[in-house]
């Protein structure tokens, strides 16, 4: 994902400096607070398989859905200069299609699961295309356009499933949501790696990154250079749709049930937060997906840390807000330039003193 030029690498490191520092501080804080926080044990789960367990595994596992959505959100943010706030609702719709297909047969078989996955992805892409059309063709601000599905998406999901919480009881679903027998690492982690690899391959072998950035920076200039902004924007929404579908399947399989009210609830806010913590400009343009993924893990680690410190579930939000404010203040352009000026001053001061010493 790194660009080859030295300059590119330097700026990338600058962008990732804040999330990396935040992650390091969180890790260090946990290490000091409880040295056993990072202990990883091998435990035996209910099915009799040995699986890895520990806080670190929990963090990486639980952040999977968020990390996948954050990747898609980064693309939409970069291309359209706005965010999609309907990802949670579309996830609920896609999840209900998935469950509908699985529940249509007598038993859940490999065939029905594959069909369900396809239908789920198609549904998510179709609903995201609706958003994308409003944004790309009708030139509506992304947040406004996605407000429509944000407000009625979960009702559509309820309409599709009909009953309140359909249960899915099958070894295949458990394998998808928890762990595959014989492999100790939770399956959702593989989903994140897979989506990440596919996206990085796409960026490696196509011009999508360049096109997306140029549309995000200056749409008119991109159009004059032969890039079709409408297509690029739609494409970013389609990719977000795929990401949302994968995330919603992770959510459904993990709980082995579907609740249209709680599936991926509030994930849109966390995803936007992950994109911002990753150092991406919410106004569009240049982006770095690695930053967003890191942002997702920071948010999850923060939540897990707070839980480990026995903070009540309902109070987590307040602490989270304070940490977020600290992170974004540290990454704000004004503070950055102040720090740069200060370090320049110190450098020149040191030079001055050494010069004096020589004299």
């Amino acid at each position: 994902m790194n660009s080859k030029s030295k300059n590119g690498k330097k700026s990338a490191l600058g962008q990732l400096l804040i999330p990396l520092t935040a992650l390091a501080i969180l890790l260090l804080f946990n290490l000091i607070r409880d040295p056993n926080f990072f202990a990883i044990k091998v435990a035996v789960n209910n099915d009799g398989n040995s699986v890895l367990s520990g806080n670190l595994i929990t963090i990486i596992d639980n952040a999977s859905a968020l990390a996948i959505i954050a990747m898609g959100m980064t693309l939409v943010t970069a291309a359209c200069g706005g965010q999609d706030i309907s990802v949670g609702a579309v996830g609920a719709i896609a999840g209900s299609f998935f469950v509908k297909v699985l529940k249509s047969g007598e038993e859940i078989t490999a065939g029905s699961v594959i069909l369900g996955v396809l239908v789920c992805i198609l549904a998510a892409v179709a609903f995201m295309m609706f958003n994308g059309t409003l944004v790309a063709v009708f030139r509506i601000q992304p947040m406004i356009a996605t407000l429509i599905l944000f407000s009625c998406g979960r009702s559509i999901a309820y309409w599709i499933t009909g009953s309140a919480t359909p249960q899915l009881n099958s070894p295949i679903i458990r394998a998808m949501g928890m762990t595959i027998p014989g492999i100790p690492i939770p399956t959702p982690i593989f989903a994140v790696v897979l989506v990440g690899i596919i996206l990085s391959l796409v960026f490696r072998f196509t011009n999508l990154r360049l096109y997306t950035q140029s549309v995000g920076i200056n749409q008119g200039a991109a159009r004059l250079n032969g890039i079709n902004p409408t297509v690029i924007k739609l494409l970013s929404f389609v990719l977000l749709g795929v990401c949302v579908a994968v995330a919603s399947m992770i959510g459904v399989c993990r709980m082995a049930q579907l609740s249209h009210k709680t599936l991926l609830v509030d994930v849109e806010m966390d995803a936007i937060l992950a994109v911002a913590i990753g150092g991406n400009n919410l106004g569009g343009g240049k982006f770095r997906i690695a930053g967003s993924i890191m942002g997702a893990y920071i948010i999850q680690m923060l939540t897990t840390t707070l839980y480990a410190m026995n903070v009540a579930t309902v109070n987590v939000k307040a602490y989270k807000a304070i940490v977020i404010i600290v992170i974004v203040v540290a990454g704000s352009p004004v503070i950055k330039s102040k720090i740069a000026a200060l370090s320049n001053k110190m450098k020149s001061g040191r030079q001055l003193s050494t010069a004096k010493g020589v004299r």
């Binding site: 009708f138 599905l149 307040a318 404010i325």
Partner: protein
């Protein structure tokens, strides 16, 4: 603004919102939806949605300035919770407690406004993230104060309870009950406050320097800077005003429903954004009008009331209807504005050709 045009974009979008509200309301009366034939229904809409009208105005002001504030709902919940706890712990007969409560509400709103405004305008952090953090913080503080609902009743604070029961009665808009008595139409204090906020915001945006500066800032930040407008201060003030209005909205909510609860005004920020958009405010900034916002809120309130009153009494239908309504409005705005732009471009082209 383009003075030669018969109606500029803001006025056009506002007019559409007013017309749609009128059509919807008359349709509800004609088709005989229960309750709509009485004037009281209109006042009920105002009473129930007073807090929403106020935060919609707050959102409109920020959106006209090119920003966004999604912490308003959280600030309302925090204000309601803090005020309920304060009232329950103060002397029940003390009327002074009401004033202190009002000050507490204003203080909470102001604190959030000032904090967020500082981070957004002076530290140049993206408004969405700052106000999202504000939303998390206010919701989290609400549950920290109390997870259980806190109810202010006639026993716990009699003075406040008497104060909130004051209603303005308008006899000639009332209706005649079955026993022949005339029941006057009742308007709550909160609704009056909401109407006052609409009028004051309208005047502020139209006639006061700060208001004009907010339009200029939202229209084009660079141009505003070139014109010598203090961009940072203007943006800061827009957030302070919106914070203050959320505090007022919290107090109004407390008067309407005196129970502090973690789920108070849940997702109302999105309703407020939707109301602003329906009323003709653009998220891109520079375009908007709080009169339109008022009618946008009333449109949302009316459709929810109609669904609530008819047999489709289900939150499912309400969500679907508001989603569909929003979709129609957004598309309509987009089509109308782009058609106008095209017509204008054509006109300009024709003029330049004629000159050439």
């Amino acid at each position: 603004m383009k003075r030669r045009e018969p109606l500029n974009n803001t006025q056009l979008l506002t007019t559409i919102a007013v017309c749609i509200f009128a059509v919807m309301y008359i349709a509800a009366i004609v088709t005989g939806v229960q309750g709509f034939e009485k004037f009281q229904m209109f006042f009920d809409l105002l009473n129930d949605n007073a807090y929403l009208i106020i935060i919609s105005c707050a959102l409109s002001i920020v959106m006209i300035g090119g920003g966004i504030n999604i912490s308003v709902g959280g600030v309302i919940s925090l204000t309601v919770m803090a005020c309920s706890i304060f009232l329950n712990n103060s002397a029940p007969q003390n009327a002074l407690g009401i004033i202190v409560t009002l000050l507490l509400a204003l203080g909470i709103g102001l604190a959030f406004g000032v904090g967020q405004g500082f981070l957004i305008s002076y530290l140049e952090i993206q408004p969405f993230i700052v106000t999202l953090a504000g939303m998390f913080l206010s919701r989290g503080l609400t549950t920290m104060l109390s997870v259980e609902p806190v109810k202010v009743s006639a026993q716990t604070h009699a003075a406040f309870y008497a104060f909130r029961s004051n209603k303005i009665e308008i006899p000639f808009l009332g209706y005649i009950a079955q026993n022949g008595n005339t029941i006057p139409a009742k308007l709550e204090i909160g609704a009056v406050v909401a109407l006052l906020v609409v009028v004051l915001s309208f005047l502020m945006l139209r006639y006061i320097k700060l208001g004009r500066n907010i339009y200029a800032l939202g229209g084009n930040q660079q141009s505003a800077l070139m014109l010598g407008i203090n961009v940072k201060r203007t943006r800061f003030m827009s957030y302070v005003i919106s914070g203050l209005l959320s505090g007022i909205a919290g107090f109004v909510f407390l008067m309407h429903k005196p129970t502090g609860n973690a789920s108070v005004a849940m997702r109302s920020e999105m309703d407020a954004i939707a109301a602003s958009i329906i009323g003709g405010t653009l998220l891109t900034g520079g375009v908007g009008n709080v009169i339109g916002t008022f009618f946008g809120t009333m449109i949302l309130a009316t459709i929810q009331k109609i669904i609530g009153m008819s047999k489709l009494n289900d939150s499912w239908w309400q969500d679907m209807a508001s989603g569909a309504l929003l979709g129609v409005f957004i598309l309509l705005q987009s089509v109308i504005l782009s058609a106008r732009d095209k017509a204008k471009a054509k006109k300009a082209g024709a003029v330049s050709i004629a000159k050439g």
